[in-house]
Symmetry: C2
Subunit: 190 residues, 2 copies
Amino acid sequence: MEWIRELLEENVALADEEWQAFSNLLEEESFSAKSEIVAEGQIARKIYFIDEGLLRTYHIQKGKEINTYFATDKQVISTFASIITQSPSFEYLEVIEDSTVYSLQYSGLMSLYQQYSSFEQFGRILAEKNYLCILDRTILMQTKTAKEKYTDFIKTYNKKIIQRVPQHHIASFLGIAPESLSRIRKEIVS
Amino acid sequence: MEWIRELLEENVALADEEWQAFSNLLEEESFSAKSEIVAEGQIARKIYFIDEGLLRTYHIQKGKEINTYFATDKQVISTFASIITQSPSFEYLEVIEDSTVYSLQYSGLMSLYQQYSSFEQFGRILAEKNYLCILDRTILMQTKTAKEKYTDFIKTYNKKIIQRVPQHHIASFLGIAPESLSRIRKEIVS
């Protein structure tokens, strides 16, 4: 799980003792494809560091699934709003491909926040990044054409996600019809 | 400026020494109505604690102003994305009514983050609240009717903002036409 330390250290410097305290709280878990880790209405308790696999968050809007985030190997995912407020989630966290993860209880992270200012700093940077991520997404959805959305997506998203996430999920993430996405992909290839 | 300490202490407990360090960094400034404090393309440097007045943030989309936030007496405002990334702002910060504020340089806040873990915690909670605020707004914009948006707005927003922000700014904030807003307000009154 050394990659998790590297991921944290992209944001904050950690002493060995701090990493030890953090890694002691991680629990290895495996989920098969289609597992629902968090459902709408549940209070989310954990953050997931994905060792191998593919997950998504989505919510239901007017009867349709709207994807909001994908994460794959060596990335992090959670239903962040429910985690930080400890109130019922408006969104789902679902496994797309069989996945092995290291999970961290948010209560454990909160106690690390109190013990070590490095983790408090990590929490701040994580919250700031989540803020920027949702802001980017909101502006993208409001201002770009379907083709611009897709070209932006393939430029900025992790290659594994582009290759492994089913096309209908990408269409729902970008807020465009599956047929439009398929037409756009043909245009780009030709 | 004691109200600023109270505002901070809604989120974190502060020792006298910490409050002293913070308040030493505050600078009193006055702006007249229509002043543009941050323009698109500028890098924002300061956070504003409004002693008295009314400000808004907005961005230009397809030639139209889209309001994204209002703040009044004893509230905080900034162009947060530009502040935390220290990159050019996509949005404007403008004064609606003559305002007196206490401004705080972000560089000063960053140095407080490093010196005191209470401020790091404050930064985390601030970023989390901003995340939840934009998430709520995004979901509101996607799922509610014009009438629901307005009734939500008058339920959740500060009374002073509802009374003092010009109607056309509220319409732009809610993403509805000014004529629709005027019709909805008549319906609600009758």
